[in-house]
């Protein structure tokens, strides 16, 4: 059993009050959370220092404008947080942040992570069409009753890593019928425990509801299998791959929003990737014709090679794809496959080495001739 604090208040209101309290008492100097930023109700990730500004915070709002792992990286890459900060992050955002930290792109110093069992998020399409608010009650009903909604992003519908790793405080949401009246915060670490010390509420020993979460996981896994099975014929063999990626417009938006794609300049946009006039000659003599700009399949295969090992399946790529290529499922499928090969779960452990930065002397002999 883990220590937990139960506050008799609505999950969202309760959390906002809690965060306010932290700011008011100076326990933290900043809160990272989703927040409404204008009268239209547009929501973005925000850094909040004034308690009153938390009134517009919507920490559990079911959208992911950007994977906030990359935002936390941006915040801490030049300098670790100098004052105490709390960040409300989704499980895949924490995992992305951890993967970035392993690549020296950020630091957990002075940062407390608050997360939750995540029910998934809606698409940018629905954000653009202003459909989120209308769907909120349906969304929370589904979370309470461990249901999977059809209109969530495919990456979320098929996500079985909805319980956060490395969170100091985890809010119990999925399968918790009482969230409208009760905010339950599981205190996973001492850091988390220290923050809630003077907070009014009931101190209990409690775990997440394993049975309900398992039930939920089953459903998610089934959905994942379904989506994986559906994607399979679309990506098997070069011809199918060309069909699937044929409509790609080479905007590289997938890479741009991918939290694991952290390079200053993507190798596929670097001078090395450019074709010289003689390269076009070579290709034309060989093929008779060539799509231009060239390198569509090369880009996606190359990106798979670069990031699949660390792909956290957040789905940001698919969400921004202007031509609806089912990137998130493709990357998740290949990602899980190569991760399994190295027994690696990206973002699970901060001290686990990146598989390509280390080796075992005796391994992978089946790949040798």
């Amino acid at each position: 059993m883990t220590k937990a604090l139960v506050i008799n208040n609505n999950y969202e209101k309760g959390l906002i009050d809690f965060l306010k309290n932290l700011l008011e008492n100076g326990k933290v100097k900043g809160v990272f959370s989703l927040k409404k930023i204008n009268k239209e109700g547009d929501v973005t990730f925000s850094l909040i220092s004034k308690p009153e500004d938390l009134d517009d915070a919507v920490p559990f709002y079911p959208i992911m404008p950007v994977n906030a792992g990359s935002l936390m990286s941006r915040f801490t890459m030049k300098q670790p947080a100098t004052e105490s900060i709390i960040a409300v992050l989704k499980p895949c955002e924490i995992r992305a942040f951890v993967e970035l930290i392993k690549r020296e792109q950020g630091s957990l110093e002075n940062i407390t992570i608050l997360s939750f069992t995540c029910g998934g998020v809606y698409t940018h399409r629905m954000v653009a069409d202003d459909l989120i608010t209308k769907n909120l009650s349906k969304y929370w009903d589904a979370v309470k009753s461990e249901k999977i909604l059809d209109d969530l992003r495919p990456a979320c519908r098929s996500c079985d890593e909805f319980i956060p790793y490395n969170s100091d405080i985890t809010v119990d949401l999925i399968g918790n019928k009482d969230i409208d009246k009760q905010l339950t915060m599981i205190l996973n670490t001492e850091k988390g425990g220290n923050l809630v010390k003077d907070i009014k509420g009931k101190n209990v020993e409690k775990n997440l509801n394993d049975k309900k979460l398992e039930n939920f996981k089953d459903k998610r896994e089934k959905e994942k299998k379904k989506l994986f099975d559906e994607i399979d014929p679309k990506i098997k063999g070069l011809d199918n791959l060309i069909d699937t990626f044929g409509k790609c417009i080479s905007c590289h938006a997938c890479g741009r929003v991918c939290p694991i794609c952290y390079c200053t300049v993507c190798e596929f946009e670097s001078p090395d990737a450019e074709y010289k006039p003689s390269n076009f000659e070579t290709e034309l003599n060989k093929r008779g014709a060539l799509r231009v700009p060239p390198g569509t399949i090369y880009f996606h295969l190359g990106r798979l090679d670069h990031i699949a090992i660390s792909c956290v399946g957040c789905g940001a790529c698919e969400d921004v794809c202007p031509v609806d290529i089912p990137l998130s499922i493709i990357f998740k499928k290949i990602g899980e496959s190569v991760q399994k090969m190295f027994d690696y779960v990206p973002g699970k452990n901060t001290d686990e080495e990146l598989p390509l930065s280390t080796f075992e002397k005796e391994e992978l002999v089946e790949y040798e001739e």
Binding site: D239, L290, I297, L356, E369
Partner: protein, 143 residues
């Protein structure tokens, strides 16, 4: 293509300077016979082989790609080939998962004294690739 002549695959072979390229030289000086399908690309260490080169070669129409280096533990640069193996395995897995004729990619450790092994590996790989036929990627336009 001339009549009655077998199709000769084109295989890009990344050979590390210290072991595998030397092994290839030995195969040559020993006058061992193996198919002229192998197109050697000399690198100082197999760990120089960026997986992107392999992707490029495959999409460019190479019928096979061989990566060869010193045996594990014998790397001229100490540990390079261990990284090579991981990178290669990762890419090969991706090729497996995408049904991209992963058999066109192979990894082998060939030392400077293993001329015969070099001849055998290249002969066997050529045979395997021949059976697979030409790499259709070389005719694709929408890559």
């Amino acid at each position: 293509m001339e009549k009655n002549k077998e199709y000769m695959p084109k295989i890009i072979a990344f050979l590390c300077n210290w072991c595998s390229y030397a092994g290839a030289d030995l195969a040559g000086t020993s006058r061992l016979k193996y198919p002229p399908s192998i197109l050697p690309i000399r690198v100082m260490c197999s760990s120089r082989v960026d997986p992107l080169f392999i992707i490029k070669a495959y999409l460019g129409g190479a019928d096979g790609v061989l990566v060869a280096g010193c045996h594990p533990g014998d790397c001229h640069y100490d540990k390079g080939n261990y990284y090579t193996r991981r990178r290669f395995a990762l890419l090969k897995k991706i090729f497996q998962d995408l049904d991209l004729e992963e058999d066109r990619l192979t990894l082998s450790w060939i030392s400077a004294s293993e001329g015969p092994k070099y001849a055998k590996v290249t002969t066997d790989f050529t045979e395997k690739v021949k059976k697979m036929g030409e790499n259709s990627a070389k005719n694709k336009i929408f890559l």
